[in-house]
Amino acid sequence: MNQQELNNRLSEIKDKLIDDIEQKADNRIFLLCEAENSYAVNKFLFEDVPLRFLIATGIDSDDCFEVLYHYSYDQTGCMVTLKAFIRDREKPTIDSIAPFLPAAEWIERETHDILGIDFNNHPDMRRLILSDDWPEGVYPLRKDAQIPAQRPDGEPSSRPTVQSQSPARRTVELSKPVVVVGPFHPLQEEMEFFQLTVDGEIVTDIDMRISYNHRGIEKISESLQFDQVPFLVSRICGICSASHPLAYVNAVEELAGVTAPDRAQYIRVIINEFERIHSHLLWVGLAGHFIGYDTVFMWAWKYREPVLDLLEEITGNRNNYGNVKVGGCREDIPNELKPKILKELDKLEKKTEMLTKAVLDDPVLHARLKGVGILSKEDAVKYAVTGPTARGSGVDIDVRRDNPYAVYADLDWKVIVQPEGDVFAKAVVRLLEVLESVKMTREAIKKIPDGPITVEVKEIPPGEACGCAEAPRGETFHYVRSDGGNRPIRHKVRAPSYVNVPSFRASCIGQPIPDVTITLAAVDPCYSCTERLAVVDGHSKVLHDYEALLKLSREKTARIKKEIGGPEFKLEDF
């Protein structure tokens, strides 16, 4: 379907279910409807058109609540947003779309946590992102929220108190050196990050608690000025720290109607592709660590270092570059640096090609990773996954091609897609993407024009806009709404891991335990996410923890290696 056909399709339900269609730009469409019809419209959009679900945003407008459902039509790069108005401010309710769209489960739980909107027929309305001891009825993202000044500091209730004589010990010598503490290992609680339920050797269910990293970024954003927000969002995740500000800035520049100068666009591409390179290499190292190839771990992290050093020379920091601003870039790439960058890229390309070849040829890796953790294409669509997780399952989406930003449309590169959906396919996708990124960066360095790197932005008019960028993990999506003032009145952030991680339900269930760590790692969540892991049997008895699962994974590799007699990576080869 081209854009015109899409418009026609959407007009079909006008006056029946939706009240109005606003076309903010060629490829930005807003549908307005009442809360009662949102279920039907969503079903139409997801199943009949069909569109790809991105995320939902809850907004506390003055006289009503709004729930925005964002969709993307990848063929034309069009973003369709459904605005559902909830008029009842006392008891805001709306029908949940999770019954046919598993990707919406988490975001509806989160919207309930932070705005207090009830979702009817949601299969699992447990608390998601606020802490266990957060008081009921306090919804932080409401405009009139009364955040308790004295934050509740609850003790974990299920654990007996620990009596340690530590405070007094430093001044009292020779006291009894033996103290009594609680019986449980501190990292083992009921509310583990990941909790797997197993039946024998096979995983039957998986659950996740994600409150540990919740810092309330969307609310903090509302108190910062537009220009300060990039610094905040680059610290959402350390390894996507160039993509989040870029997506935000894409949204704000769209809102303000400005375009950054060409040189700035090239710089943005170069920095983002460098980030993709070192992020994928980090993943390769971690994956090697999980399956027992520690030489791969050390090799990959050793070759990240030159990339990080280059980034430090350009932007001043190995991570958290702080380079993107509304209207352009802050730091320029000095022309004297270009030969050095090209040299490093050549070296990196050679080494990555060797590693890719080794991975593609290694029979042990084949046996260890092929057929493991398969995420089928249908599940990939239902869970709305993005990035290498999706492309490794045969879903051909990439924001840089579908909805181009910066200068991606001018560079010569291709999207890597593998159909199998297992961990091996995702590893191949990532390795080949590193090579593509090297090619792209090389071209960008050669083609970068001279000129200014920033354009002045006087004011941000009232309105709303969406922006996205392709982070190493997938599509980052930012939605910004402004009322003409200095600060965003609503800023919705969707990191790619937010939709990728829940797809574990589809890929981990039915896997044997030794394969769990590598399946979880295949999604490339943030490192700290996978640290907290526990396996329970049907009666909630903890059987293994993260370290034990790591061992199991590596043992399986060693066993397979013995059976096959595969080659060992030697550091000298690289």
Binding site: R170, H214, G216, I239, S241
Partner: protein, 159 residues
């Protein structure tokens, strides 16, 4: 970088205490706690293991249990969900031990100061259960691995 360790005047049993601290300085086993960080600091901590930085030269090693730890590397401005865990981990670390608040978030919540889910930097949480805790600060966003090593070594030399 600054490495301020809170010290109490030790009049009684100073000789007895000092060999403990001396051997602590020579052999620091480190346990990493993430209380809601963006992972930059955490990745730089893992970088410490790699051949470029190699902390085993200083007698340091990363252990998997707080029971075996002498120093806690705490990243993140502590979120409400993570605060009880941090306290629990601190209690289960045998004393004497040093707490390192790593990064801008650890030292003073950094850019997330006004976040509703942040209950305060690391030292506030630790001092709630142990006012005499030894806490050292390694700021940076993230601090480079060299900075972390330098911060740890400096803090230990002040002990």
């Amino acid at each position: 970088m600054s490495a301020t360790a809170k010290r109490e005047p030790r009049q009684t049993g100073r000789e007895f205490m000092s060999w403990k601290i001396w051997s602590l300085k020579k052999s620091v086993w480190v346990f990493h706690v993430n209380t809601g960080a963006c992972n930059n600091c955490d990745i730089e901590i893992v970088n410490l293991l790699t051949p470029k930085f190699d902390i085993e030269r200083f007698g340091m090693k990363l252990v998997g249990s707080p029971r075996h730890a002498d120093a806690l590397l705490v990243t993140g401005g502590v979120t409400a969900q993570a605060a009880p865990r941090l306290r629990e981990v601190y209690r289960q670390t045998p004393k004497p031990c040093v707490v390192f608040a790593i990064g801008a978030c650890g030292c003073g919540t950094g850019i997330f100061r006004s976040g509703y889910h942040i209950v305060g930097p690391v030292d506030k949480i630790i001092r709630e259960i142990d006012p005499n805790a030894i806490i050292a600060y390694v700021p940076g966003c993230p601090p480079k691995p060299e900075a972390m090593i330098s911060g740890v070594v400096k803090a230990l030399s002040v002990l």
